[in-house]
Symmetry: C3
Subunit: 352 residues, 3 copies
């Protein structure tokens, strides 16, 4: 093991690789490992799926995988010491919030935990002013906002990178990236797979980002969109596909369909989305739809031995706990991949 | 500039004890001290008093004491760098929450501050799913929950250690441990003491954990349970005592009783606990009981010169501020011991 | 136990200036720079403007400026490792809260994010008890409270320094200091300037602290108080001026006035302040007043080329966004100065 830079500690460019601990019982291993950031992310906001090409995605997945193995074998990556992240969550979230926080903390950075409800944002400040405020004190923002346009406003007002943590029914690009990482790691590849997206494809920003990433950067064999018409995939998402892809639509999960899929990606169905739909019969359809799309242990009896079930979570009853112990249930591991994908992203955004 | 140590930095087993600072005015002393973790806690959840034996308790107290003196003389223990703790508090708390956070931060770790009210837990997620989510991003959880059974659910679902920060009327083991540390430090020993527990002994999980720790691991001279029948110590706590101990019951604080005690441990009386009690006259009793159990400066006139008054706090009016300046009032110091006991616990849980 | 490196590290005075990084791509530069804390702040609470003399202010401004340039060129100041700050905010705030948190984190310290609404403070604990609790677990507090007297209570109960983050209509000293830093940096000096304070001067604690700092420590040419009588500067603030100063009062922003000012410092007007005023016609006046005091792009047509517009923010409509792109609009830069002033203060408070 080489620690060459040490000899140069006292000169002006003394970039030191430090390993140290504080007792003889607890050892902290500082990275002597060289992590390679994804250069195209340097200083950039993460706004949408379209900003990533295949090389970016592969590099992010490799970096996240390396970080996972390094951290899980006890390594400490202290790269973002002195950097501060502020999550601005104008909408309920626990997964995106906690995994961004965990990622920043595991990289040695700090997090400002602002409670939006007790902040002066209640005093009627504009989003632009709030963004300018928070970026005066922090080096990166994570924004989750119920309105799609909020992201653009924030990016425009911010002198520092903004991570899109979900903008209305728009996008959720870091979720899309962690989904790709999950598929790649669990099944060894993304190319050639049959992917079924199930549930509310209209309002689910997760499946918007994921489907764009999948179609535009990989050669998937087939994309199956399983949803009733009222919440089918919006045309503007399909229009964003830059390559031909075999698309199949279905209203329910059938045996035939389940037999074919490599990735069964389901999302939450929300009653309120049905009632606000244009179709007057939509609400009445809700219970039927729920039954048609539900995944349980029986559903998996039809499925291949090597396939995975994914869900961005939280789930209600569209995904039964009877599936949890099946090795094909990848949704808990999927969350864990989220931590490392977000570490890879933050690390790259801050790279010099 | 001093760079002498650097030549020795490249040793392959360079677990380095580092002392450094960042200016000539503010000195950060990194631990050159060897802290010895309590090995039986390594990787374990902290669930209940019964998991600790006398050796564990002594070792934890010694470790906490050492850490206190090290930190208070300006030392920095940076042992948990890169580790992340998530407190999941489903119930009001400021002491347990803040002292666990303070302990983790003082050990160099990070804390994810999740606001449960604005998180997706509001979307109806099960506790198991929430636990699996949070443990995807963090290395240890602290759980406070109004329901006793929640702890077991959490421990079962969690791949990482769970610290019980109070489960309903069940236990509050870290509080019990800090109470032991307080008694030991303030009075030099626990063995041979007369300990009075005062107040709501039925619902107070603090006194459940403490009395089990006291009786099963120490030779106390007498345990006095001062409470009206309606909120007396539950039989299942008494059944958990594994050694004979002299137990006395009293309904009020008398001069005779106060003269004898070495430790006068009082807890909060809550009106709502009385109204929901089975005894129909309970609520009417509340005001009488309050007067019978109240501790003020006059109460202490009867007490020994060397004894202590303890309270897990917050207090309402069962413990008068007239006692605050008495040197026997140990309850503010007791909170401080909580910080160091939780540091000792977290340090041990993470030891390799 | 491996302690080989220690022999060389254990020199009693080996305060080492460490520079290190964790990869060859992300470089963390630890301070080799010597920052000089403001000695008079060592271990002290920051309560009010009157505790600072000209030397303190100059030293704080110099320190903050140095830190700003160090941090903005990529330096990491890791001086407060192992120190813990708890912000206790009993009132809405995002700026003061976030900038104190950002400052602490950028100095390497930790922050306990307590949600006051879900804490046991809701159980009716006294402020003194809350302060004693929080200071058991932390090394510095930041208090924002709607009542002016709360600060004194907190300082009395606290064994650690308390930073006043705004006490009712009392003071906001760190805001006053960052305002001085802004003026000094933007205009090169504070002495000799014409300063106009505009808006609710009665209830605005910001302008109370700032005007005292300005008059008592600098030789400003003129202080113009622009406000209707109902919210004019309180007599006790004027009584606190220890030097003669030319004071002019105005009820509206006139061309003549704007032409003369070097600093146009405006604050939020709140309708509710008018309705609770003694003057029965106050509320009716509100709309007139708002128009009289509003600053927009047209207002600045009259102003000098070298002057600045300041605002503690958040703003409502007393300061139009049409001013934002004018180089004289200093209010966004003012927030950024707040981060570094609070870093300078915290660094000095913890200096040994």
């Amino acid at each position: 093991m080489q620690t060459k830079p040490l000899a140069h500690f006292s000169n002006k460019l003394n970039y030191l690789f430090a390993r140290y601990d504080v007792s003889s019982f607890i050892f902290i291993r500082m990275s002597q490992h060289t992590f390679r950031p994804v250069a195209s992310l340097r200083g950039k906001s993460v706004e949408k799926a379209a900003q990533f090409n295949r090389t970016d995605i592969d590099d992010l997945c490799n970096l996240a995988t390396e970080m996972k193995s390094f951290v899980e074998s006890g390594g400490v990556i202290d790269a973002l010491r002195g950097k501060v992240m502020t999550p601005l969550f104008f909408e309920n979230s626990s997964r995106t919030y906690s995994s961004f926080c965990g990622a920043m903390l595991k990289l040695g950075g700090g997090v400002v935990s602002l409670n939006l409800e007790t902040s002066s944002i209640a005093k009627g400040e504009t989003l632009s002013d709030t963004i300018r405020t928070m970026t005066s004190y922090s080096d990166v923002l994570v924004l989750r906002h119920p309105q799609q346009e909020a992201l653009e406003t924030a990016v425009k007002a911010s002198p520092v990178p903004v991570m899109n943590g979900g903008n209305g029914t728009g996008e959720h690009p870091t979720q899309g990236l962690l989904d790709i990482l999950t598929i790649r790691t669990e099944l060894g590849t993304v190319d050639g797979l049959v992917v079924a997206l199930v549930g509310d494809l209209k309002n689910g920003r997760t499946v918007h980002s994921l489907s764009k990433l999948l179609v535009n950067n990989f050669d998937i064999a087939e994309l199956i969109l399983v949803a009733p018409d009222v919440v089918q995939m919006p045309q503007e998402v399909l229009d964003a596909f830059q390559k031909p892809v075999k698309i199949t639509r279905a209203a329910a999960l059938s045996e035939d369909l389940v037999r074919r899929v490599d990735v069964l990606y389901t999302t939450r169905l929300q009653k309120e989305r049905f009632s606000s739909a244009e179709d007057a019969n939509a609400l009445a359809l809700f219970d039927t739809v729920k039954a048609d799309l539900r995944i349980n242990a029986d559903t998996l009896k039809w499925a291949k031995e090597k396939m995975i079930v994914m869900h961005p979570l939280p789930r209600v009853d569209e995904l039964c706990t009877s599936v949890d112990d099946d090795p094909r249930a990848a949704y808990f591991r999927q969350m864990r991949f989220g931590l490392f994908m977000r570490m890879a992203i933050l690390f790259s955004v801050f790279s010099a």
